[in-house]
């Protein structure tokens, strides 16, 4: 028998700090596998943001720059402008991308910055202990919305990927989810497409991945996947939001 799947060379074999069942780990693997399959690890620079994934620089086995909360797209811009031949991607949570880093992400799309954005949306601030994020659903409980998100007080969940797709500089935007082998494969395809578009010199692209936070949602990992599909997905429908072919 042959080994058909094992730990990718593009990841470092150290213990990971993620909670049991956290889908960040699956997404790390997908990103790493795509880079391994495209054979571009030696010219990849990842940009870590601030959130539960901030220590991804310890896990990705290629160059990484750690940026500040929300600023990964700006740092990616600096790296990409110096090394236009490298694959440069950001890995950002929803608090990072959709709250503090709103300006940076939108203007990267506006500039058509040739970077890929891996946007992990779990509808909550995971790292800081489960506070409300701009992506938190109406009525959803978080530590800073203990009675459920009150839309009269805090407004409505933000649809970042739709907003990014509106910008002419954005060539590809897709929302996927981690809920089955099929959707995991679909997510991998989307990541691959984004990376390939970048390597062929096209513009900005974003893959939003509906994800889970079993710890702060207060659920078992399996239950949280179900909850994500039944709740997050109804507000954030999966699918291609903008395709390369639509770009003028």
């Amino acid at each position: 028998m042959n080994k058909v799947s094992s730990f990718p060379k593009t990841l470092v074999d150290v213990p990971w700090h993620y909670c049991p069942g956290c889908t960040h780990g699956i997404i790390h693997r997908l990103v790493a596998e795509v880079i391994e399959e495209m054979e571009i690890a030696s010219k990849t620079v990842g940009i870590a943001s601030v959130g539960c994934s901030c220590f991804c620089y310890d896990y990705f086995n290629f160059d990484v720059v750690a940026s500040a909360h929300g600023r990964a797209p700006a740092t990616a811009t600096g790296v990409k402008r110096v090394h236009p031949d490298c694959l440069v991607f950001t890995y950002q949570g929803d608090g990072d991308l959709a709250a503090i880093g709103t300006a940076e992400i939108i203007h990267s799309a506006v500039r058509g910055e040739k970077i890929s954005v891996i946007f992990v949306n779990n509808g909550i601030y995971g790292m800081t202990g489960g506070q409300m994020a701009p992506t938190t659903l109406p009525e959803m409980k978080a530590t800073t919305s203990p009675y459920g998100r009150n839309t009269a007080l805090t407004g409505y969940p933000i649809k970042m990927t739709e907003m990014l797709a509106l910008q002419d500089g954005c060539v590809y935007a897709e929302r996927t989810k981690i809920s089955s082998v099929a959707t995991i494969n679909k997510t991998k395809k989307a990541i691959r497409k984004s990376f390939e578009l970048q390597m062929t010199g096209k513009g900005f692209s974003v893959v939003e991945i509906l994800s889970t936070c079993p710890t702060n949602w207060g659920m078992e990992p399996l239950e949280s996947i179900k909850w994500m599909e039944e709740n997050l997905e109804t507000y954030y429908p999966v699918g291609v939001i903008k395709d390369e072919k639509e770009v003028k």
Binding site: V45, F62, D63, V64, V65, A74, A76, G78, E104
Partner: protein
């Protein structure tokens, strides 16, 4: 043979950056430094460089982090409020040991203040400015020629110490036109084995200021502290004017020092023995020349275009040995040499 051309301070800083090998500039418009980005927007593309106007100073400084992490010579420039916005990023760059050059053409504050030149950001510049225990190497030119020389050197210093370097100027320096001699273009940029990018034959590089293990972070703090000690040892720069027989010593930097010189000439004409010590590196602060001159000096006078910030460093240098006074105009009002002369005379009279 000297080949002098007439240049505005801000444009001279921009040209010196290009000559020093800077090929990337990220910034956001703010008066009174707009001529720096405008010059670079025009000239960087001609040398294969990139000028990019960011959506904010915050974004600009994190583009600088990316460019620096990628191994390039990178610069940003701004003025007081914009520099405040950059502070988190400057702290990240100090922590990630990412070299860059930051120009602060100071203006009056606090808040939106006014666009005229002033010196109210000395503390911010010399105490790190952002969060965390770090320092910037801060150079404060007084003439356009000095702005050229220091900007040119700043990139080498940033790379040598892997630390951000700040050029601390003000609206007067940025706007003034003077003849300058430009240095040769720097063609030999240092190798940066730690930078990110193509990585065929080396282990992965990580550029990060994140050290979640406290004992590791303590070691980083110690290492940075030792580097600052090296900077203190090697990079102290200052100038003096008529201090040999001086009985009264003015401390002044940047544009204020030019006014101080004019006042000193007038005082000397009246037989008052005043001299000037002009810190060029405001961090590290040149304490030694102040200490050396204590025996002959009756008092020190810190002359700054703010309510007195560098005066702290003068006091730290000389302790309680002699009185240290302050004079300055605020909010962007430019003090006249006559005003300073009047202050000198008043203090001399009191001292007698």
């Amino acid at each position: 043979m000297t080949n002098k051309i007439l240049m505005k301070g801000s444009e001279a800083i921009a040209e010196a950056a290009i000559l020093s090998g800077c090929r990337y500039f990220f910034g956001y418009p703010i008066t009174p430094q707009n001529e720096i980005p405008e010059y670079l927007a025009k000239h960087l593309p001609k040398v294969g460089g990139t000028f990019l106007q960011a959506e904010s100073e915050i974004s600009a400084i994190y583009m600088v982090l990316g460019g620096a992490a990628a191994g390039a010579r990178v610069m940003t420039s701004s003025s007081s409020p914009g520099i405040s916005l950059k502070q988190e990023g400057i702290s990240y760059m100090a922590g990630a040991e990412a070299p860059c050059v930051i120009v602060n053409i100071m203006r009056g504050g606090p808040g939106l203040g006014a666009i005229q030149g002033a010196q109210p950001d000395y503390w911010q510049a010399t105490r790190g400015g952002g969060h965390g225990d770090y320092r910037l190497l801060v150079l404060a030119p007084a003439t356009v020629q000095e702005a050229v020389n220091l900007t040119y050197q700043a990139f080498d210093l940033a790379d040598k110490y892997r630390n951000p370097v700040m050029i601390l100027g003000d609206g007067i320096l940025a706007q003034i036109m003077e003849p300058v001699e430009l240095p040769e273009a720097n063609m030999q940029l240092p190798e940066k084995a730690w930078a990110v990018g193509k990585n065929e034959n080396r282990p992965r590089n990580i550029v990060s200021s994140s050290y979640p293990k406290v004992y590791e972070l303590e070691q980083v703090n110690i290492r940075l502290h030792e580097r600052y000690a090296q900077i203190k040892k090697n990079e102290v720069r200052w100038d003096s004017y008529l201090t040999e027989d001086a009985e009264y010593v003015i401390a002044s930097y940047g544009s204020a020092a030019r006014i101080a010189k004019a006042a000193i000439k007038m005082a000397r004409a009246e037989g008052i023995k005043v001299g000037l010590i002009r810190p060029i590196s405001v961090w590290p602060f040149p304490a030694e020349p102040f200490q050396r001159i204590i025996p002959q000096t009756k008092f020190f006078l810190s002359f700054e275009m703010c309510t007195g910030q560098m005066i702290d460093d003068v006091r730290l240098a000389i302790g309680n040995e002699r009185p240290v006074y302050h004079y300055g105009r605020l909010g962007g009002v430019i003090p006249l040499p006559e005003e300073l002369l009047a202050k000198i005379k008043e203090l001399v009279k009191e001292a007698k």
